[in-house]
Symmetry: C2
Subunit: 298 residues, 2 copies
């Protein structure tokens, strides 16, 4: 059973599951576990790891349109080294500070490999779900895609300073809050843009037409990519980018752009669900439901 | 650096640290990471593991005198087996239900060994800290001590059914809420009674006189213990019991007992801090600050 199958199994059982974060009263809650071997390329500093791990959970809070209240992290390593732990905590605290949340500590443990589990809590009375997109809505993304993909290539090339910089993203909490009045469906792009759009299609019972040429691609991708096909792959399928992918009525776009400093790019639009066609198409071609799966099946 | 030293380092940096759970606005938040090799003896079912892991976090919520709102768990295993995962989730959900909380899911991952990180969230406008004990206050515990110690011995003896039953404790959320008006200091006994009392002494700047003969010891301990010294060791030092250890004025004891169905036992009293004496004594002898340390140093 891969991770997505397991998640579907859980979702069938748990009313709170199926969005980026669970909703309980006015709270949104989300948790993630990351491991050195699967989530942090060689060269990732503990400062970056703390920032990124807690940032990933804060991104899920952002995807619900919630303000970020606080985060905690459980930290396990082979040895509890004071410098490494201190660096991790600084990273965790700094990413919280960047989005107005409080980092309030966690648990410590020794373990065979560096492992961290982070939980973030946010507040909203009106969470944005994945299920509200309607045919005619515009499909948009915040910021730029491919940042993490480029970072992974840079880690491979031992350009660790630049790679670490790219790995420390700012969770889109402010943009999420600005969009909560207008976004009809929203999630983050942690599994890659293509997979995210498939998930919005499934949750909203609609299809999407995607315009690959419109994708806002991070500058670092051009340098990291081997050719134009690779460039598209890194931007649309690699994932781990933590941008917001959302839909809104065309009439709301200008006001949304005014409400946030983060660039919003239209990358497609929602269409009627069709029995005969695939849910997500671009230039008349099917966009595969392919992206980052933590279970390791791709 | 062992876990306690590392936790002290963290506590110096983080205003929220130092109690059983962090306090943010009206929320209390706590997280724990547990591993198969260190926290779940051979024979522990995944149902028990889910119950116990989430229960440990709910116990920290209880120790703040907060009501329990919800819990999440990150679950990692070598393979994502549907039955094991389903059992874990049932256990997690059942322990939440037992204390009026909602289990709202989590994250899944593959990993070298079964590992889970649980987070629980509670609510209170007036959390009970570890720091409010005053000389003259009574020292009390809920329920009975030694339950988990006996369970570990039973796991060793392959009596896994009884051991699993003992391992599934009910977090003392209801008792914690009932005590929040009267308890002056409170924590849970997860590190063992002796260590908990030392921690209350340190946080409250007082000493304690402990009456070992008064300890409420679980029936299963008598059976598991090799002699009376071992019996005391299992009850007072082994830990992992998740009872509440708290102080309150003698005048508040009767009302506290009426407010909860859980037995409250007086096991000592708070005394003036003394420069010359150790913080915790029993029958004129020093009680060592010894107990369960997850870093593996004892």
């Amino acid at each position: 059973m891969d991770e997505r199958a397991a998640l579907r199994l859980l979702a069938a059982d748990l009313p709170g599951a199926g969005d980026d974060a669970a909703v309980v009263d006015d709270l949104v809650v989300t948790t993630d576990m990351l491991h050195e071997t699967t989530d942090f390329p060689a060269g990732t500093t503990r400062y970056t790891a703390g920032w990124r791990a807690v940032g990933a959970s804060l991104s899920d809070v952002a995807a619900m349109g919630a303000s970020a209240t606080c985060a905690v992290a459980a930290y396990a390593a082979v040895e509890l080294d004071e410098t490494e732990l201190g660096d991790f905590v600084r990273g965790a605290r700094d990413v919280c500070e960047a989005v107005g949340a409080e980092y309030v500590g966690g648990d410590l443990d020794t373990h065979q490999e560096f492992t961290t589990a982070t939980t973030a809590i946010g507040r909203t009375d009106d969470p944005v779900r994945r299920s509200g997109a309607a045919p005619g809505d515009l499909l948009c993304v915040t910021g730029e895609l491919g940042r993490s993909a480029a970072a992974v290539r840079l880690f491979e090339a031992d350009e660790t300073d630049r790679a670490n910089d790219l790995f420390r993203f700012t969770p889109r909490v402010a943009a999420g809050v600005a969009l909560r009045g207008s976004a009809t469906a929203m999630m983050d792009s942690s599994d890659g843009l293509a997979r995210s759009v498939h998930q919005l299609a499934e949750a909203s019972d609609c299809g999407f037409e995607l315009d690959f040429d419109a994708l806002p691609v991070h500058d670092a991708v051009a340098e990291a990519a081997t050719d134009s096909a690779d460039r598209r792959d890194l931007a649309a399928f690699f994932g781990e980018d933590f941008e917001l992918v959302f839909t809104l009525p065309e009439s709301a776009l200008d006001a949304a752009r005014e409400a946030t400093d983060v660039p919003l790019t239209v990358v497609g639009n929602a269409v009627e669900e069709s029995e005969s066609a695939e849910a997500v198409v671009a230039d008349g071609e099917v966009v595969p439901d392919r992206g980052y799966t933590h279970g390791g099946d791709e």
